[in-house]
Symmetry: C2
Subunit: 245 residues, 2 copies
DNA sequence: ATTTAAATTTGACATAGATCAAGTTTGAAC
DNA sequence: GTTCAAACTTGATCTATGTCAAATTTAAAT
């Protein structure tokens, strides 16, 4: 599949997703209507905010207040362990949700930090819930949203569980990252990685030296083309085989 | 925490969960009410069925028809790859859901097979959805259910992502399995594993020989007590450290 | 109880990845 | 542009896990 390279406009050199392409849209849109019609004082139902690099969206183990949908940039999700090492357990890109897994226990399960300058839509859980009880459409859309998220999580889990070789892990990672970003980068075979090798290695459970060697090997074997953080897939089919997907 | 060993009744030598402890209860219960009041001809909304060992609940890539909640026994979820090797990507125990991640694309994402003789509650998605539109309570409960499932999936992902050492993988696995079964086995430190070493190794991405050695090592180091498939945790705190949870 | 196949464990060796060390490249600050 | 620190790569060894082989245990069938 080829995608016209200029078909998608970018803003501020970030990848950017419009409301139409946001996964939270189905919840946001009815909420906006309510907001306008009921005119809820100065409180807000949802609001787009911009964040600088390294901005902390929320901290692990704090009470759930908002759910976020990434509009532009990227976020890393990490666990704070006692040994102060950064333990990345996930990445989120435009169109994806952050914090929705806290709806159950009402407590955030990880810390979310902006990787570069980014923007997110912020939806108050309290207000979303109270509105939802009045508006069946919101309920229905929330179900759709949560179902979809379960699907995404299942796929994500499948992609990494039972894999241990550095080759298969990196192949799975690259394919996953590129697929998740394809709709707004306009490319299904290339990406500028939002995180450094250290972070990728940490996420995959590899050492940075090992990861570096695999990158070099993949390039030498003409599977990918590497230019710093810019990655282009050359032999996608082979990578899929290596990833065992 | 100590749990009275005889506090939970078992049926047919299987671990068994009553409707009260079933994760689908919040959806099932209102559905039953509807069923009784509307008296929907011969169709059913939910129904408990028993399955023999190796019974296939559904096949990967087939259209979603039902969602299941395990009542007793255990199920393995697997991917069918071309090379005919069994690729276990998950296990499900009493109280847990199977197939709910297919709600999004309406197609099952894996094959689900009973490990031993088991029983499940079967809920028709079509009927659940159509009833849900009439009954707000079902909508609300479904949201709760899906939120919870997202939470469980997040925890599961966190437990294994970025882990590669055989020690940490096995420790994470044992703690996870025992915790998920604690409420109805009545023990938070022991279990009879529902699957063999081969399957565990496959799930964790290890070789059976390696897994066997780690089992032996954990026993020698007094971390666990092993008797075939019966496992008892001796030094739970140490295992948590090894698992890096 | 006996037989048999399957599951599990253990040993010996090979290899992928970790570790340690040293270089090279990149990119931000001046 | 120059300087400097951080990021990344490469090389040399070491170690954990994979691989191959064989022994032992377990469990099912008779």
């Amino acid at each position: 599949m080829t995608v016209p390279s200029q078909s998608i406009q970018k803003k501020d050199k970030h990848n950017y997703v419009e409301c139409d392409d946001c996964s939270m849209n189905s919840v946001c849109r009815p909420l906006s209507t309510v907001k306008q019609s009921i005119n809820l004082s100065d409180s807000f139902l949802h609001k787009r905010i911009t964040t600088k690099a390294n901005h902390i969206l929320f901290n692990q183990s704090t009470p759930l207040t908002n759910i976020y949908a990434v509009s532009s940039g990227a976020f890393k999700l990490l666990l704070q362990t006692d040994d102060s090492t950064e333990n990345i357990i996930g990445l989120r890109f435009p169109g994806e949700l952050i914090g929705e897994d806290a709806l159950f226990l009402k407590t955030y399960n990880y810390t979310a930090i902006a990787i570069g300058d980014s923007s997110v839509c912020k939806v108050s859980v309290e207000q979303m819930t109270s509105c939802g009880q009045l508006i069946p459409e919101i309920q229905k859309n929330l179900i759709e949203l949560l179902s979809r998220q379960n699907y995404v999580r299942q796929k994500n889990f499948q992609a990494y569980i039972g894999k241990k070789s550095a080759d298969s892990l990196l192949a799975a990672f690259l394919l996953n990252i590129i697929e998740r970003n394809a709709s707004y980068t306009g490319s299904d075979n290339s990406i500028e990685l939002p995180i450094n090798r250290n972070n990728i290695a940490n996420f995959l459970g590899l050492r940075r030296e090992t990861l570096s060697r695999v990158f070099s090997k993949f390039q030498k074997e003409q599977l990918i083309q590497v230019e710093g953080r810019k990655i282009k897939l050359i032999a996608q089919e082979n990578l899929i085989k290596i990833a065992d997907l």
